[in-house]
């Protein structure tokens, strides 16, 4: 066994009363691909930010290639040949690839940037590691996959020997992710040492040599990838057995929502183009796609925020002429918006206010222009109890809730009124395993009760578990629907890449 190239010893980091990392010790060996597995809030990203010098630890030290790194100095990490690829890319969109790569690599007070030799070096690295990208393209014009390659190239350009990737596949399609892991494996074989952060079990098992599991800021287990299983890792990660609920077979009812060749335009660009779909009572239609392909526009269309410029949108058998969010809510459409913090809740308002906000004009919650507080609070209390929202009372500000509990409240305020149609846009984005299971159970319960559900998601597993039929969304267009029985990750991946005919 080779010497460790990197050691983290007894790292502890506190934010106020929260201990994000508690005495974490970790080793990375040369040529190794190590996965750091854990739920949201387990302290993975904090740990990597300490390693890279973005944060200063309260205790512990980082040793790279036998030398201790001074805390809180990204420059020292770079000089120790450690590179980091952030989950939210650290790129300047208005600058070119080469400018992003060479910024900070030359002495600040010197004349002239040596772009031509930088270009040559970049091309050589691209070829050697299979990371094709045009050095002179503006980063803002690149696809997400290409931007990630730029991020990796940035580190390689500085001769990184250790590479840290924070949730590298969060924004990639299935195929792109597989390609990335093949690239990472190739890099490990060429002698680089890599750590990647993930909460996706199948990726960790397929790609890593070794898995370190973090829970509540502590290392709870370490396994060789070849000697563990998905179930064992899930249990280690969550701390208890978690089974995602399964969908049962039932015959769908009448069509409650139907779109026929709908276009949506916004300031001259076509956001949706000839979109057709139908959702029946007691059925879930899954819309799968990589983010940024028109999901937001679709979510707005079906919640009354965007108007069809062409085509027909029918709800409960009637064509919608002048859509508005209020008329949709009144007609019995429940909505879980894509960005819960921006569109789902008003953070500084109280939980009960948020619970009744959508329907505060109804006689149930207001009278003569005044809000009826008692029934409103009672409604919030009901939602809290029935949907197991933890961390607040009706009178606490909603921003104090965790993402999962906030999502349960949003789900609850919709489902408590038994909507005919439920629009769920990325309902479990950013939630951890426990909360995902709870949200899934509620969506399945609504389906059993006969609600027509439109589920927009980027998560293959979620679609496979919840949907009855699937359509892919690619650049504002929808593929034809396929039954879930005919869907597998490979075929869905192809559909998400826009290959519909060959996938069929």
């Amino acid at each position: 066994m080779s010497e460790p190239v990197l050691r983290l010893e007894g790292i502890t980091k506190r934010f106020g009363t929260l201990t994000a990392n508690d005495d974490v010790t970790l080793e990375l060996r040369q040529g190794e691909l190590l996965a750091l597995l854990g739920e949201n809030g387990a302290g993975k990203t904090t740990l990597m930010n300490i390693l890279f010098g973005h944060y200063t630890p309260d205790a512990g030290r980082v040793v790279a290639f036998g030398h201790e790194l001074p805390p809180g100095k990204p420059r020292a990490a770079i000089e120790a040949r450690i590179g980091m690829v952030h989950q939210h890319f650290a790129l300047a969109a208005n600058l070119t690839v080469i400018e992003n790569v060479i910024a900070g690599t030359e002495r600040l007070f010197s004349f002239g940037l040596d772009k031509s030799s930088a270009r040559a070096k970049l091309k050589e690295l691209s070829a050697r590691f299979g990371l094709a990208v045009d050095p002179d393209a503006r980063v803002g014009d690149l696809s997400v996959g290409e931007r990630q390659r730029v991020e990796i190239l940035k580190s390689l350009y500085r001769d990184a020997r250790i590479l840290i990737l924070d949730e590298p596949t969060a924004v990639l399609t299935h195929q792109e992710a597989e390609k990335l892991y093949a690239t990472l494996r190739g890099m490990a074989e060429k002698g680089l040492s890599l750590i990647f952060i993930s909460h996706k079990l199948h990726e960790v098992l397929a790609a890593a040599d070794r898995v370190v599991v973090l829970r509540g800021g502590k290392v709870v287990a370490e396994r060789r990838a070849a000697e563990t299983s998905k179930d064992e890792l899930a249990e280690l990660m969550v701390g208890r057995r978690v089974a995602r609920p399964q969908r049962d077979v039932q015959a769908p009812g009448a069509v409650l929502m139907r779109a026929t060749s709908v276009d949506v335009m916004s300031s001259g660009t076509k956001l949706l183009s000839e979109v057709s779909f139908e959702v029946r009572a007691g059925e879930t239609l899954g819309i799968i796609g990589v983010s940024g392909n028109g999901q937001s526009a679709l979510g707005q269309l079906v919640s009354g925020l965007a108007k069809p410029t062409e085509g027909r949108l029918e709800m409960l058998g009637k064509e919608i002429q002048a859509p508005s969010p209020r008329s949709f809510v009144a007609a019995g459409v429940g909505r879980i918006p894509e960005d819960r913090n921006a569109d789902g809740v008003v953070g500084d308002m109280l939980i009960w206010e948020n619970a009744v906000l959508e329907r505060v004009r109804g006689s149930e919650f207001s009278a003569a222009g005044f809000v009826r507080r008692t029934p409103s609070r009672a409604f919030a209390q009901t939602v809290i109890e029935r949907f197991d929202v933890r961390g607040g009372t009706p009178d606490s500000p909603i921003r104090l809730l965790s993402g999962g509990n906030m999502q349960k409240l949003i789900l609850g305020r919709n489902l408590a009124t038994s909507p005919r149609i439920l629009i769920a846009a990325q309902p479990t984005r950013g939630l951890d395993e426990g909360a995902v299971a709870a949200v899934h159970a509620e969506i399945l319960a609504a389906r059993r009760a006969g609600t027509a559900i439109l589920l927009i998601s980027e998560d293959l597993d979620e679609i496979l578990q919840l949907a009855d039929r699937v359509q892919a969304i690619v650049r504002g267009r929808l593929s034809p629907a396929i039954p879930i029985g005919a869907a597998d990750p490979r075929r869905l991946g192809l559909m998400m890449a826009g290959v519909w005919d060959e996938a069929a």
Binding site: H54, A92, F109
Partner: protein
């Protein structure tokens, strides 16, 4: 003389360069701050202070260049204050900038009143003289229009070219741009966004101070408290007009100066038939129109007005 004949006089074009000079300094200064991600609305006050401190240095017996240096240092000091508040503490850049303008202007009047006795005619100094560039100034028309200016005007034009080149082609320029686009990207590359922003604001503010000093040391020979007359705000607009590019800032300043020089001469032709205040509006009106055309396509630094706090993303 006809309204169009004005354009044929070399005097107009000489005046354009002279009127543009403080705007070139100020716009370059504001542009550098903004390229690094900091809006500096302190410009109006900083220019006023620069005008006073530059004049005062010379009035007290200092050399003209020493006056210009004093204005640059005074500007830099207010820049440092702005940077400490907006970059280090991350306060609102709008509010802080306006506060700096009010503070710098009031301090200017205070110092001026304290040192110069009240009198009907303000005291004067001997300002920068026109330098005729050998050979070039003998060219017909062009010689008189372009190559017979005071030293600070030549300096302003040279600075615009140097800054354009520096931003595009040097490691420091690239560092400034990446900090203004995405400070987290800069930090990940080992650049310290906070130090770089402070440096950019201090340097940019020094240029603003010099722009103010041009008014008292070259354009006029005395100081009066209202002399900056909104030129700082014009510079802020010119930065947008220029799409944050120094070479276009130079053009924008010249264009605005052209409107201003033109309306001054137009006043003489039209005479008293029309109130002259109407002509005073022309440059501002024209700059709004120009902004409407240009600003829609402008590429704003993505991190402009976003405070950077270490360890937050």
């Amino acid at each position: 003389m006809d309204a169009l004949d004005i354009f044929a006089s070399a005097g107009l074009w000489a005046a354009v360069l002279r009127i543009a000079t403080p705007l070139i300094f100020g716009t370059l200064g504001a542009l550098i701050c903004e390229r690094a991600g900091v809006l500096n609305l302190g410009i109006e006050g900083i220019m006023t202070f620069g005008a006073m401190i530059g004049w005062m240095t010379v009035y007290q017996g200092g050399d003209l260049w020493l006056g210009l240096l004093a204005a640059a240092l005074g500007g830099a000091a207010f820049g440092l204050l702005h940077a400490l508040l907006t970059v280090t503490l991350g306060l609102s850049q709008h509010v802080t900038g306006l506060g700096i303008t009010l503070f710098a202007s009031s301090l200017t009047y205070f110092i001026f009143r304290l040192s110069v006795p009240v009198s009907g005619t303000p005291p004067t100094i001997v300002p920068f003289q026109v330098i005729h560039i050998p050979v070039l100034s003998d060219l017909p028309f062009l010689g008189e229009a372009v190559f017979a200016q005071t030293a600070p005007t030549y300096l302003a034009v040279a600075l615009a070219i140097v800054i354009a080149w520096g931003l595009a082609r040097t490691p420091l320029g690239l560092a400034v741009r990446i900090v203004g686009e995405n400070p987290h990207a800069a930090e990940a590359q080992g650049i310290d966004p906070i130090r770089l922003r402070i440096g950019a604001v201090v340097f940019g503010s020094a240029l603003m101070g010099m722009g103010g000093a041009f008014l008292t040391l070259a354009a006029f020979n005395s100081f009066f408290p209202t002399m900056v007359q909104g030129r700082g705000w014009v510079c802020i607009a010119l930065v947008v007009f220029a799409s944050w590019r120094p070479e276009r800032a130079l053009l924008g300043a010249l264009l605005f100066a052209l409107f201003d020089a033109y309306q001054l001469r137009l006043q003489h032709i039209v005479g008293k038939a029309v109130p002259y205040q109407l002509f005073l509006m022309i440059p501002y009106l024209m700059s709004i129109v120009a902004l409407l055309v240009m600003a829609r396509r402008a590429r704003v630094p993505q991190a402009l007005m976003q405070p950077f706090r270490r360890g937050e993303r």
